[in-house]
Point group: C2
Chain length 422, copies 2
């Protein structure tokens, strides 16, 4: 007899969101030789172990420049630290330099990756069983998972839905929408971006409807060739309607697991929203590893606070790969039969096909064709079949990418024949 029953554990553990992530991890583990057009992790080509040592030394030197004596330098890096972080001032300078976002460093909480920032924000906002989160659908599975952990239902807002109408309907059901989660730049998974007018309109709705916008921006530094970066919602936010989630996983170093949240909202009788998130963090992870923060701090210092500058090579690689995907699909499917998005940047292309794309097809693709991708069904919170898959350009070399597209084309061509015969 087993020691524990799954049905006695928290409901999230049997939820599709958590098991979806698990399934995708397992399949890539199970087929290590398959070419991965699934992984959203950054390119490994420019990693160098020496950088770790250099960044740690640079951060220590920075503390000395600020007047810390040696015991204080060691204490800052080795000891438990400030709950809101020890590189909040460096992050604030990075936001000013790269994003034209100007915030009080005290409004920043440095987190264990962006994922902890999501959990903290949703945990704070989920106060009653009537509370719900709105999220542009298809939605990043990480925010759905975070919402599950705090028992917060997620109401999907379709890309063509009228947000105000959705809010009205949700409220008519007796529910209280607390925030809307949105990735305005090169979204995961859709690859789509909002234009500046839509961003301003969204901010107006947030103000009128008195909801927060949770802006997630992991890919904003990576526009496609011929495209410009657009101002983030937070840069346009004059009424503190936006909680801004930042990640150094794609632009800093994934293995440091450092992200942050900008929460400059005021709280009646409680200072800044960041201070409330900090209280939660003190009971979730105590603080973000100072050693890891020192590495990211060092990288910021090494690049005069500009991750745009630090990621010039990565940006070129992703832009070239993104173009290679869309060009490569055009070459391999000159007569149509499938269609795909041509994103303005980021890591992801969505391919739409005339048949349902499910986990069984992914398993077949991995096993028989040696290529991995992500079924778009994982980004919808329903059982309705989805006829699309997501390709990622970030974790492959140009040669791997071409080989991966050949394998994918073989799979899709076979499936097109099969589905035509059905």
């Amino acid at each position: 007899m087993a020691d524990l029953e799954l049905t006695d554990l928290h409901a999230s553990l049997t939820d599709r969101a958590l098991n979806s992530m698990n399934f995708l991890n397992e399949i890539s583990h199970h087929y290590p030789d398959a070419i991965s057009l699934a992984a959203g992790r950054p390119t490994e080509e420019f990693f160098a172990l020496e950088d770790l040592h250099r960044y740690l030394d640079l951060f220590a030197e920075h503390l000395r420049d600020r007047g810390y004596d040696e015991p204080a330098v060691r204490r800052t890096i080795f000891q438990y630290g400030r709950t809101k972080g020890i590189i909040h001032d460096l992050v604030a300078r990075n936001l000013a330099v790269d994003e034209d976002i100007h915030v009080d460093p005290e409004a920043i909480v440095v987190t264990v990756g962006c994922q902890e920032a999501m959990v903290l924000t949703l945990r704070a906002l989920r106060s009653t069983p009537q509370d719900v989160l709105l999220a542009i659908s298809p939605t990043y599975v990480g925010i759905t998972g975070a919402a599950r952990l705090v028992d917060l239902p997620v109401v999907p807002v379709g890309e063509d839905d009228d947000l105000e109408a959705v809010l009205k309907a949700v409220r008519a059901d007796g529910l209280r929408p607390r925030a809307c989660y949105v990735m305005p730049d090169f979204a995961n998974p859709s690859g789509l971006s909002m234009d500046v007018a839509s961003r301003k309109h969204l901010l107006e709705i947030a103000a009128t409807e008195e909801i927060l916008l949770i802006e997630d921006n992991p890919y904003g530094l990576f526009p496609a060739t011929g495209h410009e970066r657009l101002p983030t919602l937070k840069a346009l936010d004059t009424e503190r309607r936006v909680v801004y989630l930042g990640s150094f996983a794609k632009t800093g170093l994934p293995g440091a697991r450092v992200g942050y949240v900008v929460a400059d909202q005021t709280v009646a009788g409680g200072g800044l929203f960041a201070d409330e998130l900090s209280k939660l963090k003190s009971m979730l992870t105590v603080n973000t590893a100072p050693v890891a923060q020192a590495v990211i701090g060092g990288k910021l210092l090494a690049n005069d606070f500009s991750l745009v500058a630090a990621n010039r090579r990565e940006r070129e690689r992703y832009a070239a790969n993104l173009r290679a995907i869309t060009d490569g699909l055009r070459t391999r499917f000159p007569d149509g039969g499938i269609s795909w998005t041509v994103p303005a940047g980021g890591f992801f292309v969505v391919v739409t096909v005339p048949f349902p794309v499910d986990d069984a097809l992914l398993e077949k693709s991995a096993h028989e064709y040696g290529v991995l991708w992500t079924p778009m069904s994982h980004f919808y919170d329903t059982d309705v079949p989805v006829h699309a898959l997501r390709l990622s350009c970030s974790a492959v070399t140009p040669a791997q990418l071409e080989a991966g597209l050949d394998r994918l084309a073989a799979l899709l061509t076979d499936e097109l024949v099969l589905s035509a015969g059905r």
Copy 2:
């Protein structure tokens, strides 16, 4: 007008547990020149920046020894990693060497400090509003805080209470006790330890009553002079009744924020409990910073997996300081008037006085006497006045400790006079 109302945020934010931690942090921040007999952080005397570089290099070398090529070494340290961790096998060897605990490395989840291990465990176990956690009282505020984050009530079990009677009463109230949290070795805050017979009896109760024991063991490596280390509950656990929480904050390096949970329980239809915790972790922090794990891994490798060996100097320091506290109190209060515990190890001595010890007295102590300590009231979940305070021996030099005791004695002497006159 404020952007947000505190009453609209999660209830934990107005809870005493979260605000208690905040208050204690703020007071030490506000009086940086006060001598801290409050902080439970490890001594900083043996920190060396070179160790960081050495540990990182040792871990990289260990990966090469295991056959990793250079890209694989870099990927392991720089990239997103396995959710359950990349040093689980090294942790398992450490447990075998130092604790005589023998577990499958797959049953270990490496976490962002022990705090995340608590949150994961309680999140998994809290399934219905009837679920409650039992905890030996007075209780470490971190477990209370973790329970608040997942809306899990904590039922205190007094040190002299009969656990079986408490379980019966809780069940009679229609509640479902999921686990009992216990720190059998040199507990925080009481400093008390359980003898081996009590440990075995507790394991029997857990088996009969079908509850889990959550064993937290941050201080077990630090017995007082003349005392032996006792087997942990987990070492005595033959029926997988114990979820074991481990921390490298006191024995490894606090700034790495690496802890772990051993969860070898089987789950019907779901593998190991560790795998369920891993699913939750994938949505809480994704994984523990590989850079930070590499630092701890390197320290384990540098010491042949023995943290007992690695902490010889620290152990001597804590044992000497602990003795200096109890000896110093005897010297300063030869005629009684107050009493104190003489713990068998760990960091903490509890001083009992004939007047209530509250935050106002701590503020007075910091401001007028220049010494910090912790009111024991912070470790009880009630408003009943508590006539005791906690002293910590870990973060002061012998000279600071003596000066701190002088200041404390001055405060307590003045208060004894005041309370006698009342």
